[in-house]
Symmetry: C3
Subunit: 155 residues, 3 copies
């Protein structure tokens, strides 16, 4: 699990802080992305990654590689939640955004999963750190090329 | 309760993503609005809605329509909290912002209510989705014309 | 503890709302600052305050005054957490930003502390209000000159 780290690390390329517009764009991107996942729009969720995008997490046995694998993993998780009568809400916050010299955008954020049982009381389910490498798609919009999620309880 | 939906729906008018400045303005608007409510500034809170603004929620028996009704409902809720020695903090996050063709701004966000008993430990009280139609007031500032809040535990 | 207040107060100098770029800059500043603290980068954390910066909280016996005191207090807190196998994540949100006539920036936000035991489940630990006076350092970046943190459970 050496590729997954919960604390700031020296990036491969030096990074410079993002300007205000890029910072806001990343915030908006994450908001849309989390809403897609929680709405069970799994294909659209997978479409926010590059075709060869990687989703790795220290809470998962292996990374999901490519949009198909990412969509399949999301659908399996959402089906499980639906069967158990649970709603998940993913909140990202405290995001830092830097431009790397290789032209990618590096974003590091905290991510919470809030779990709500139908008829019940919401609770914090997971607290994680999310480290993303973001790139531009053909239409100029942001896409995740690489995501590393580290659960704080496993760190 | 058919007007209240917890998942993304096709808006009446096609929507385009907001530019960075509008996105930031909406974030700032929500921060001020939530601080007003939690500070028990109920008249100022109601003033962030249009005169004929509507506040509808699937956790409420009926929508509050107009500033007076919105203020009265907020004051009743705050009085109840004060009597019970509870503090509420409203957090909005994961907001998406789109411009609709009718000139309004559509914002969809997650909203949490955090409840803190005096002398006690904070807890998640509610997890909701908040769907707003925002318009400009006479001085150019944003106002809520229509708000639909959907509790995740009732969805 | 009269200097610590949990509700909006009239600032010493009238305040005007921040423009979008400043608002975004403050958000980004807070994200970096919280990540530094939670990553146990206590010297870098202290470096986000002015040399004579003050950190006051109604949950602390006395304010920490100056970078050395702020660093020492952070390190003591982090050492305690490490000894107990706990991770803390500080989330700021619902921030309002105003420019005061004295040239400072006044920011008021909600701040949560999320506590995660290794091998356990995350929980809300504290809900607070954070009132900052921000100034520019020599290189133009934001620094905290004065911070007042009010725990909601003690208000």
């Amino acid at each position: 699990m050496s590729a997954v780290s919960s604390e700031p690390t020296t990036p491969a390329a030096p990074a410079r802080g993002a300007d205000a517009d890029l910072y806001t764009e990343v915030q908006h991107f994450y908001a849309r992305q989390m809403q897609l996942l929680d709405a069970r729009s799994c294909a659209e969720w997978a479409g926010t990654f590059t075709e060869d995008g990687v989703f790795a997490a220290n809470g998962l046995p292996a990374p999901a590689e490519g949009r198909t694998a990412i969509e399949t993993a999301a659908r399996a998780a959402q089906d499980r939640l639906a069967a158990e009568g649970l709603v998940h809400r993913h909140w990202l916050g405290m995001v830092t955004v830097d431009r790397a010299d290789d032209g990618t955008v590096r974003a590091r954020s905290y991510a919470l999963v809030i779990q709500v049982p139908l008829g019940g009381v919401p609770a914090l389910h997971r607290s994680t750190v999310c480290e993303d490498t973001l790139v531009r798609g053909e239409d100029g919009s942001l896409l995740v090329r690489d995501r590393r999620v580290t659960r704080d309880d496993l760190a």
